[in-house]
């Protein structure tokens, strides 16, 4: 159990002259949950896309379940290699609407990765889809619906069900609850928490929201301008932030004791770096 299921080492991604990701690295243990916290332009989403194989890093490596899946020596990946990557790691996006075929029922969409990755009869697949819908708290009726007939929260549950179908080792969630209403967000967060406890799956949870990251992760990295500025146990980061940027992020979150002057002081401390 002491080998990481996912490792990123010195990841760099350049788009032309812009360095979006600059030396990012971390280890994710089986069953663990890692947060990547940052604002727009921090490089958090590019990092997530590299992990999922949607972007190729300019340099650095990604190792998934003991196999290097991105970086040096990995060129022109075969269909087989890509399938294996997807089988082990699935990604969930902020807007599930864009990731479903609008003309296909939810149940058919959930069955698709099964047909691709898991051999079995149509009947077996149907049974598995029913099980998955139940696991994420969706009714059979929701399964027969088209994506547009479901609410945002239901669609995000469906996206989770589809990702879980092939039992991946890692789930990368990019702002997966950011577009949901508070009461629905809580439902999806508790669902994700329960699933991790039941299945031992690992999460990379990408978010701008420290409160949500606190709830769903054990450790976290804080990114700014493509670099990791602070890393550690999530609870420690929140209670005792060391980097001025982490402090600014934390103090910027509204609360009944919100002190906007303190936010301004944090900003000056950061600019003075």
């Amino acid at each position: 159990m002491n080998t990481p299921v996912l490792s990123a080492v010195a990841l760099v991604k350049r788009f032309g002259h812009v360095t979006a990701v600059d030396g990012v690295g971390f280890d994710l243990m089986p069953g663990a949950s890692l947060g990547i916290v940052g604002e727009s332009g921090s490089g958090k989403t590019t990092t997530a896309r590299i992990l999922a194989g949607l972007e190729e890093p300019t340099s650095g490596t990604v190792t998934l379940a003991g196999e290097t899946v991105a970086g040096q020596g990995v060129t022109g990946r075969s269909r087989r290699a890509r399938l294996r990557h997807a089988r082990l790691l699935q990604m969930i996006f902020q807007d599930p609407y864009g990731s479903f075929d609008p003309r296909q029922t939810i149940a058919r969409s959930i069955a698709e990765p099964l047909r691709l990755h898991a051999p079995g009869s149509a009947k077996e697949h149907r049974a598995r889809v029913a099980e998955l819908l139940d696991q994420v708290g969706l009714s059979e009726r929701a399964g027969r619906s088209l994506p547009r007939e479901l609410s945002g929260g239901q669609r995000q549950r469906a996206a989770i069900a589809r990702a879980l179908g092939i039992s991946p080792r890692v789930l990368v969630l990019d702002e997966a609850v950011a577009a949901l209403d508070v009461s629905i967000q809580a439902q999806v967060l508790t669902l994700l928490d329960d699933l991790r406890r039941e299945t031992g799956i690992s999460y990379v949870f990408v978010s701008h929201d420290l409160a949500v990251v606190r709830y769903i992760t054990d450790t976290a990295i804080v990114m700014r301008h493509g670099r990791v500025v602070e890393r550690g146990e999530t609870e420690r980061l929140l209670r005792d932030p060391q980097h001025p940027y982490t402090r600014l992020l934390l103090d910027s979150i509204p609360s009944p004791d919100w002190d906007l002057d303190r936010v301004a002081r944090d900003r000056r401390a950061l600019d003075a770096l």
């Binding site: 604002e39 727009s40 609410s151 929260g153 209403d181 508070v182 009461s183 629905i184 967000q185 809580a186 439902q187 967060l189 508790t190 701008h208 929201d209 420290l210 409160a211 949500v212 606190r214 709830y215 609870e235 929140l238 600014l248 992020l249 934390l250 103090d251 910027s252 979150i253 509204p254 609360s255 009944p256 919100w258 906007l260 936010v263 301004a264 900003r267």
Partner: protein, 334 residues
């Protein structure tokens, strides 16, 4: 007749920036009529910051827009909306245009969707002033001054730039400068910081508060973020399914919510501060007025509901610091 004048003046200084009384909104007529808002009553005093909080479909944006006479096509409004003395629902197009130009402004969530992308920022900012008869030179001077106040470096250069040359946070500052350029009595801010990064949000909110305080503008701050509302508002109204279910001072709402929905929202929100506490999900999903059950709209998701809750929409009653539409607020916060 002479005696009436001072009394009239006093009434003018005391009148609210916004007064909404039993506002109802219905789309269509007859059997197919869809109710959107029911019995919305709220007020914003001069210089006061008032929060309007709710999830999707709660009607918070509809309420804010109705305050400036913007009702959806085909919708029928009932009740009364008064903005600095003008009866908005009865006002004609000219009176409304005049009102929006001078006494009431609005800031929206996405600044890029509410500014003309092919016109320079300077034109946008001087437009309102010019329409009020301010000479061009003075209007430009005033616009530069405002840009400086909202923290834009090089105001003169900014006047010549186009919206796409600004970041989201900077453009929202421009919008705030524009909204306050006419010294309005009322500012309607509809999720003005939702599209911004959290550190930018803090800066924009600080700016909004400071500008509003300095001018004595009344602000209705519409948001889905209960923490944000409680942090900056003097009073907060919580909406659910097209109705106001609770009104309380910002702080009291946090420490002693009186409506089961308010408490459920607080318990569902994870917090980055204080001790780590488990979050509690609320069953079901937020509803619109048209799909809500009879009686109390929240009763099908409420852990405290019983048969009495189905009988009628609960009237607002006072419980501690709140005015709450619930039959047993003492069970929510004793």
């Amino acid at each position: 007749m002479l005696d009436d004048k001072p009394a009239g003046e006093e009434a003018t200084t005391r009148r609210d920036a916004l007064d909404v009384a039993r506002l109802g909104l219905t789309l269509g007529a007859g059997d197919g009529a869809v109710p959107l808002l029911a019995d919305v009553t709220l007020r914003v005093g001069r210089g006061e910051t008032v929060g309007l909080v709710g999830e999707s479909g709660s009607g918070k944006s509809l309420t804010a827009r109705a305050a400036l006479g913007m009702v959806p096509r085909g919708a029928r409004a009932t009740g009364r909306v008064t903005v600095s003395g003008v009866d908005v629902l009865a006002a004609g197009r000219r009176a409304l245009r005049d009102l929006r130009r001078t006494r009431a402004s609005m800031v929206f969530q996405d600044p890029r969707a509410s500014i003309n992308p092919v016109r320079r920022v300077g034109d946008y900012l001087t437009e309102g002033l010019r329409a009020r008869g301010t000479p061009a030179g003075a209007a430009a001077e005033r616009a530069r001054e405002l840009l400086g106040q909202v923290g834009i470096a090089d105001p003169a250069g900014a006047m010549r730039r186009f919206p796409h040359q600004f970041s989201g946070g900077m453009l929202q500052r421009v919008m705030i400068a524009g909204a306050l350029s006419t010294e309005p009595e009322l500012l309607l801010a509809d999720e003005p910081t939702t599209a911004l990064d959290v550190t930018t949000q803090a800066e924009v909110v600080a700016l909004l508060k400071e500008m509003q305080r300095a001018r004595g503008t009344g602000m209705l701050f519409v948001t889905h973020d209960l923490d944000l509302a409680a942090a900056i508002c003097d009073r907060v109204y919580v909406m659910y399914a097209g109705r106001i279910v609770e009104e309380a001072p910002g702080r009291a709402l946090f420490t002693a919510p009186a409506h089961p929905y308010t408490r459920a929202l607080l318990e569902a929100s994870p917090s980055a501060h204080g001790d780590r506490v488990a979050i509690k999900a609320v069953a079901g999903r937020p509803r619109a007025l048209a799909e809500s059950p009879s009686g109390c709209s929240f009763r099908d998701r409420c852990p405290l509901a019983d048969d009495r809750c189905a009988e009628a929409v609960p009237a607002h009653r006072t419980h501690r610091a709140s005015a709450v539409a619930c039959l047993r607020p003492e069970l929510v916060s004793p």
